[in-house]
């Protein structure tokens, strides 16, 4: 109880509230502009968070990402251009509703169910994270190694339709994490005599490049044009919401659950959560024909899911130090900078800070309703800001953000290179998320692997001797082998079909 009071004291301060409100407005703006994503918003926030205390720094990230994911629904509904990838799953339904004169109902549903989905995810985080942390505190290097491997494997397998490309991306990230002074040996690797590379590739400039610069390349090359013609004023948003909830509460519960669970899986963020929830809702619907043509229940399920995933992604980030999505990957970097090493010990060493962070989730999702309401009212003006005006400012902010982490121009070069590589990767169907997770977790994996191998004196069976480590190890290896097993099973069934005639 005392910890919670301390947490409330840390959170409900005037300066923290100002930070939360400012980051909420920033998140709403970034999410509403097509081409600017929640991840980009978080990446651009990082240099500003360097100069904050831990609680406002993390609360700013939590608030801006929750707001941005919701705000992506606004241009999706009004213009049929999803503001963030998380809103793409149901953009056709939302736009159909707008065309049939029900834009207010659709935006109201987006707003209320985004907030409810986010709250559902936050409640899971509030109760599951501390309970999990009590178990994880007993983990040693063997368990951590397998856990990180399992997380990275999930990221590589889930984030792309091509498993090979997901793995390729992960390996690029892991390789980048090897640059610099070696984790356990203290010897420089892949530095090629460059002093700037001795400290390794800094995560923040790489992240800003991968998510902000690559998106800017797409925008200026003609992929992000917005034409906000004939946007009408928005009327009453809340009429019909109670009836929608009474009709579709099952879809809301299902969407929130799917969103939270998918959010917890490393590498699978709110975009995947929205698509899976939408597909599941369609599969279980009595009116599947309506999907894609203005289905309100499809919107309820997926808009709840993408906001629930935002909170869910923080479970592995806080408990294991393994990010659930790109936003939490950045947040982990911020936590490290603030001296709060994510992992189970954070719940013991800094309980009041963690409680304040968890409460900030509830606060952010509650604030979503009034702030989102106000933002929708002015959205038609915001949507008129041309991308040609925004892009130059985003690039300069990206350069400043990359520079500010170490005050070195070398990091601006890292940002540029990461942006170009990320653009090339995405153009060729190679997902960025596994590479980012690889860069972030590479050192953890190597440190735990080397320490475990030295402890076991080279006996690889020791990696499976402890019960939890053994279970995680078997699970990870089963995942590695699963594509081969599936391929063999498919071949066998095809051969049987051919034999049957």
């Amino acid at each position: 109880m005392e910890t919670i009071l301390l947490a409330l004291e840390l959170l409900f301060r005037v300066d923290v509230m100002i930070v939360i409100l400012a980051s909420a407005m920033f998140g709403l703006f970034m999410g509403a502009i097509p081409g600017l994503t929640a991840t980009m918003a978080t990446a651009l926030l990082v240099p500003v968070t360097f100069f904050m205390d831990p609680v406002p720094a993390v609360a700013a990230i939590v608030t801006s990402s929750a707001m941005a994911i919701f705000a992506g629904d606004i241009p999706g509904t009004l213009l049929r251009i999803p503001g963030t990838p998380g809103s793409a799953a149901y953009v056709d339904d939302a736009y159909c509703l707008t065309q049939s004169g029900r834009a207010e109902l659709c935006l109201g549903v987006n707003l209320c169910f985004s907030a409810l989905g986010g709250l559902a995810g936050a409640l899971v985080l509030l109760f599951a994270a501390p309970a999990l942390a009590r178990v994880v505190i007993r983990f040693g290097t063997f368990e951590y190694f397998w856990l990180a491997m399992l997380g990275l494997t999930c990221a590589a397998f889930i984030s792309s339709s091509s498993l090979t490309k997901g793995t390729f991306s992960l390996l690029i990230g892991l390789l980048a994490s090897c640059v610099g002074i070696g984790a356990t040996t203290g010897l420089p690797r892949f530095t090629f005599g460059q002093i700037e590379l001795m400290g390794g590739i800094n995560f923040v400039p790489a992240m800003i490049g991968a998510f902000a610069l690559s998106e800017l390349i797409r925008t200026v090359s003609g992929g992000g044009a917005v034409n906000p013609a004939n946007l009408k004023p928005i009327g009453n948003l809340f009429s019909g919401i109670a009836r929608t909830f009474a009709q579709h509460w099952r879809q809301f519960l299902r969407g929130s659950t799917v969103g939270t669970v998918i959010g917890i899986l490393p590498g699978a963020g709110s975009t995947l959560a929205a698509w899976v929830a939408y597909a599941l809702a369609k599969q279980t619907s009595r009116k599947p024909d309506l999907y894609g043509k203005g289905s309100l229940e499809g919107i309820v399920a997926s808009t709840s899911a993408n906001n629930a995933a935002v909170s869910g992604a923080w479970v592995p980030a806080l408990v294991f130090g393994i990010p659930g999505d790109a936003v939490t990957a950045i947040a982990i970097g911020v936590l490290f900078i603030k001296g709060l090493n994510p992992g189970p010990t954070i719940f013991i060493n800094n309980p009041e800070v963690i409680d304040a962070v968890l409460i900030s989730f509830l606060l952010a999702n509650l604030l979503l309703i009034p702030l989102g309401f106000m933002f929708i009212k002015v959205a038609r003006h915001v949507l008129r800001v041309p991308s040609g005006v925004l892009s130059p400012f985003i690039l300069i902010l990206s350069i400043l953000g990359a520079f500010a982490i170490n005050n070195t121009l070398f990091d601006v070069g890292v940002m540029l290179l990461a942006g170009v590589i990320a653009y090339f990767m995405e153009e060729n169907g190679i997902p960025i998320a596994p590479a980012i997770l690889g860069l972030l977790l590479g050192t953890t994996v190597e440190e735990n692997f080397m320490t475990s191998a030295i402890k076991a004196d080279g006996n690889l069976l020791a990696f499976f001797e402890r019960p939890i480590a053994g279970t995680l190890g078997v699970l990870t290896i089963a995942l590695w082998l699963s594509p081969l097993v599936i391929w063999l099973a498919r071949r066998r069934s095809q051969a049987r079909l051919r034999a049957d005639g």
């Binding site: 240099p47 500003v48 360097f50 100069f51 090979t164 490309k165 793995t167 390729f168 390996l171 690029i172 892991l174 390789l175 090897c178 070696g182 356990t184 040996t185 010897l187 690797r189 892949f190 610069l213 800017l216 390349i217 200026v220 090359s221 003609g222 041309p386 991308s387 040609g388 005006v389 892009s391 130059p392 400012f393 690039l395 300069i396 902010l397 350069i399 400043l400 520079f403 500010a404 005050n407 121009l409 601006v412 070069g413 940002m415 540029l416 170009v420 090339f424 153009e427 060729n428 190679i430 994996v445 190597e446 692997f449 080397m450 191998a453 030295i454 004196d457 080279g458």
Partner: protein, 157 residues
């Protein structure tokens, strides 16, 4: 710019081979079985494996695709110039900021981009100047990022 799976396989193989080659030059510790080369070598091997799988995938299903196909924007000089400018601006910033100072460099970068992406050169002039000054104030004075004054040192506040 799209490439087919064979090109991606070649990239993975060259990268993996390069990593294995460089890792083999790392010194081995005397009293320890595992040295700094172990983890990078495993990554190198996995990259080679990835390259082989991508090559097989190309052989089985992707042989019709061209090795390299240019994105539509690369064929249009106007959009190609947009992207070239976006990539040139950080390079210009890296080389110019210490000599010119943050405000002049940011002003030049912003003005060039605003004119190119939005037009209205005169209005952009004011927008770029105001933004450069505001950014200097926010980042240097409030967030204490050491941005160089360069040519404007006599005017530093």
């Amino acid at each position: 710019m799209r490439v087919n799976n064979l090109a991606l396989a070649l990239i993975a193989l060259v990268l993996g081979g390069g990593v294995l080659g460089v890792a083999s030059t790392f010194p081995s510790p005397r009293h320890q079985a595992f040295g700094p080369a172990l983890f990078p070598s495993l990554i190198g091997l996995a990259l080679v494996g990835c390259g082989v799988v991508l090559a097989v995938q190309w052989w089985l299903a992707d042989r019709e695709a061209p090795l390299l196909s240019l994105a539509p924007w690369m064929r249009s000089p106007a959009t190609a110039l947009n992207v070239a400018m976006l990539l040139a601006i950080p390079v210009f910033y890296i080389f110019a900021v210490d000599r010119l100072g943050f405000v002049p460099t940011a002003f030049i970068c912003l003005w060039l981009m605003l004119v190119r992406y939005h037009g209205r050169p005169v209005l952009s002039l004011f927008g770029a100047a105001a933004a450069a000054a505001i950014l200097q104030f926010v980042f240097a004075d409030i967030l204490l990022v050491p941005l160089p004054w360069g040519l404007l040192q006599p005017l530093a506040w």
